[in-house]
Assembly symmetry: C2
Homo-oligomer: 475 residues x 2
Amino acid sequence: MIPRFQLDEHSPTPLYRQLHDQIAQLIRRGGLPNGSRLPATRELAIQFGLNRTTVSAAYELLEAGGLIRGHVGRGSFVHYEGPLESAPVPTEETISFASSRPAAEHFPLAAFQQTCTEIITGPEAASILQLGTPAGYAPLRRWLIHQSQTEACMGPGDDLIVTNGCQHAIDLLQRMAAPAGSTVLVEDPVYHGLKNVFERAGVRLASIPVTDAGIDPVRLERAIAAEQPRLVILTPNFQNPTGATMPLASRHEIVRIIRAADVTLVENDIYGDLRYTGESLPTLRQLDGTGRTVLIRSFSKTAFPGLRVGWVIAPARIASELVDIRQWCDLHTDHLSQAILHRFAETGRLQDHLARVRTTGRERLRAVLDACARHLPEGSAFTRPEGGMNLWVTLPRGLDTTELLPRARRQGVTYLAGKNFSVSHYDPATLRLSFGSLSPDRIEAGIAILGRLFREELEQTGYINSRFDAAPALV
Amino acid sequence: MIPRFQLDEHSPTPLYRQLHDQIAQLIRRGGLPNGSRLPATRELAIQFGLNRTTVSAAYELLEAGGLIRGHVGRGSFVHYEGPLESAPVPTEETISFASSRPAAEHFPLAAFQQTCTEIITGPEAASILQLGTPAGYAPLRRWLIHQSQTEACMGPGDDLIVTNGCQHAIDLLQRMAAPAGSTVLVEDPVYHGLKNVFERAGVRLASIPVTDAGIDPVRLERAIAAEQPRLVILTPNFQNPTGATMPLASRHEIVRIIRAADVTLVENDIYGDLRYTGESLPTLRQLDGTGRTVLIRSFSKTAFPGLRVGWVIAPARIASELVDIRQWCDLHTDHLSQAILHRFAETGRLQDHLARVRTTGRERLRAVLDACARHLPEGSAFTRPEGGMNLWVTLPRGLDTTELLPRARRQGVTYLAGKNFSVSHYDPATLRLSFGSLSPDRIEAGIAILGRLFREELEQTGYINSRFDAAPALV
């Protein structure tokens, strides 16, 4: 498979030459063994947003250099007879703000080992290794149902199914409720994994802009009336990518609107347990007594993302359809991880771990806010999350975070540009900073590098941060 | 959720009364708590293949008996104020030939515990708990690639991706290659999990009949020409449900046909490692040097079905598309199980376990063949598998295995009727016997019960096992 190349449109080296150099390097280092078929030029052009002639020119150069061979009608194949080169050892690891995940160094390994040992030596071990049921491992389901009922997230007309994390829940909901050609209403910007599921399935996404206070209920009401969506998907707590939290008044208003419109609301609450400051607020599902809300939760941000276990609470009719789809998707969620996470939660170890995660999360959030205030160029804005792992930055107008990313990478820092998360509206000056897996020191160091890069760019381009859009006059 | 009811169309008790009795019992035993919403009559009717008036009559009776309450426009809800009854303790567990899975009592628990402990206390533990990559846990992928290259199942133009078992691989392949309205060519009868994936997605299934020697290559060639399928899916080893194995000559011929037609072949080899008798044969992928074959394998029949790990070997272009789809399906396969199965395989423990599985499998296969020969009524036919977990029975004409199933269940034996596996052609006298999880004693006891039931039924109906179809004359 071809990795993502880092091409710089502003470099004096033409794009086809940059592409050639990177593929050639990959071949010389053994990353593409002899006989590997290169993607068709059209395919590669689409994948990297390049002109097809750029890709063709790069392939011609590779062929001229004796690194690949073209076969009419079959494509181009790697053919390199020289010695394999080794990659240079990086001096220091990249500071990555690109992935919304917890810190591996804070995983409670001893508690995990203890839990795992109890499970594999316990009386249920053989039944855990045997085929399970699509709805989930019964002891875990019972425990989650009991917890959800206690928290008033689940009523007598509801049911619960275990999924392979939240991404899987979103995928199942698409397959159940949103066929190609239908419309789904989401936040903008929104988690790219959510956007991708629907776009790949040919679903039309309508959107409502997210501010620091979540979405505006008035716009939600208007959008539902105008778009008649199959699903409305909202993230009231610490939204990915903005980190925004909806205030209580909005939540009440949203539930009123959803009830009146009789539409199914999907509440993505994957970050809900990671509140660092401010007061805990009820979920939309808790406020909605009518069974129109589907709640998605997961262990992957609070415990271990490598164990793929999440769950969905929904009206029994919806839960039953989801189980049916999930059965033919992959039979059931991995049993061992379900059993381990059940015990981890049931013994109180998850709560102990969560207390520590919240403490370190609070420090990291403070570090990222301080560093942004200190290092980002004047005219930048950023959200003030109360929890979660993500923060949204809007740089002064004129900066393009997609263009700047290759340069940031070369300086040892990476992030995701706003482009990845945009639905209808796209501001090229935006980016997401995911701070969950970085220590306060690394956060400070990384944002200092980014701030310097952004300021240099502003000075070089001499862009005047005008308040007027370069738009034609309204006539 | 409503469980599957056992309704007997031939009972003197009318169906609506049987349905009422079973729902009432469920409510009185607390299986449906107060406030649970019953499925809509239409929904339940479709689910169980009943007439809607049958379901309505059962609901009316439940309401009259004070067990449920109907609310106009909202449906029927459980409302029971009496004491909860307890279920009778079954005197002996059901002998189930219904599930194609290994025997839990033969799981090598000590070796599994040892493997698991090595992983969770090893240097990779923290990285296993962290977010992984869509293509699979790198050490497992490397090991599988090395093994596959050694076995000549994988060439330089191929790649490998890890899935949540074979069912998941089939689902991903549907999503990649077979949109609604397209045609896929499969065996008939075929694994119901495969049939369901495509039928649910609106894909048209064309089929080729399977005999004891697999499919007839001549019919394959004709069907490809006539149907122009997106995919051809075949199971050369110990096919589910028939247990059939394709002889070497057929395999060569199939590969020649696939090459000439330039169609993508999916080779489902989930049972391939479970050969009990006869000589090992090359896979279609080994015979096909052109990269048109996608090979699906899994640990779930050879090791532990509760750990959901399988893999797909495919031309790099297809593998790359599959990774892309899988990323947005559920990010990646559970890391812990991937790491455990990698170590279990790498240390040789899987091979040791497989040797024992083959020994017990051989005993079970012999037991099921002996018992079928001894107990099935005269005029029955059954396949002679050389491996796997399934055997296909065709009873004398006139018997209907779907109709007989409730009676078999009441006598403590269960199986899956042929109906579940049929694609174009359906013979009501067929059934699948899955023998992998039953001891030779239980196999013998279960088939004795089935044989008696089938013979009684034949005597009662007095059906003459005529060789002529009751079809109209050809005019």
